[in-house]
Assembly symmetry: C2
Homo-oligomer: 147 residues x 2
């Protein structure tokens, strides 16, 4: 398999499902993959507007599920009343360590999780597709400024 970038993956996913590769869809995926950060609909919308792109929020809401289906992005967490997303394509699978006070997030990977995941699949008769682990607590800075 030769190297494909996120645009290729998206185009292929759309073609397979008889959907069209529109300028709006290309603009969204380009914008999302222009950073490595988590994002949400509002911030994505504002970023695009600031760059002069005139996409509507309705389109963003309609296109994000396509990117999730294509396994280019995924939902990470629901907070402050709305969903947050992260990149999947081009990013090694990772888990999150979250500071419950300042909300800072560190990413980590641990090969033991994969092993555990496989064992659990056998124990419960599941065909395991993946896992997500979140570790939470107070980050170094917030520990010190604890009240």
């Amino acid at each position: 398999m030769e190297s494909r970038n996120e645009l290729d993956v998206f185009r292929q996913h759309l073609k397979k499902n008889h959907m069209r590769y529109t300028p709006e869809r290309e603009q969204i995926i380009r914008e999302i993959f222009s950073t490595h950060d988590h994002f949400d609909v509002e911030s994505l919308y504002l970023r695009m507007r600031q760059k002069g792109l005139t996409i509507s929020k309705a389109s963003i809401y309609r296109i994000i599920p396509l990117l999730v289906d294509a396994e280019l992005i995924s939902e990470v967490y629901y907070e402050d009343g709305h969903m947050h997303y992260e990149h999947i394509f081009g990013h090694e699978h990772h888990c999150h360590m979250r500071c419950t006070r300042c909300r800072r997030i560190e990413e980590f990977t641990d090969p033991r999780l994969h092993l555990i995941e496989q064992e659990l699949g056998e124990r419960f008769g599941f065909q395991v597709k993946g896992h997500n682990m979140e570790v939470y607590g107070l980050c170094g800075e917030c520990r010190q400024s604890e009240s």
Copy 2:
């Protein structure tokens, strides 16, 4: 420390925060702890109404955060447009294995996760408070009926 039940914990939490132990609050915590299942606001509301309790949804929405603060329950996942909760008090910490097709959920515990959590805390300088792990895939039944 002698044994305290969820009502004692809640009463103490309320007293500490200059809040009051009302009939509505007692009814809610009794209802929640009458089963071991995950729940959401709507199902809790309906269950209480069916039992003739005349609490309002507004009160449920106001009381649930108090139970979360008291570490009696916690948010588990956001799905179908609303939050789902589970018991913490009286339940050994556990993680979830979720079928992505039928949404069936199995609970499991694995002592290695605690070890990993501690190691990560040291690596990132976090004071770790806990973790959540979710493993997802297809359960035994759904594997067989795969299209």
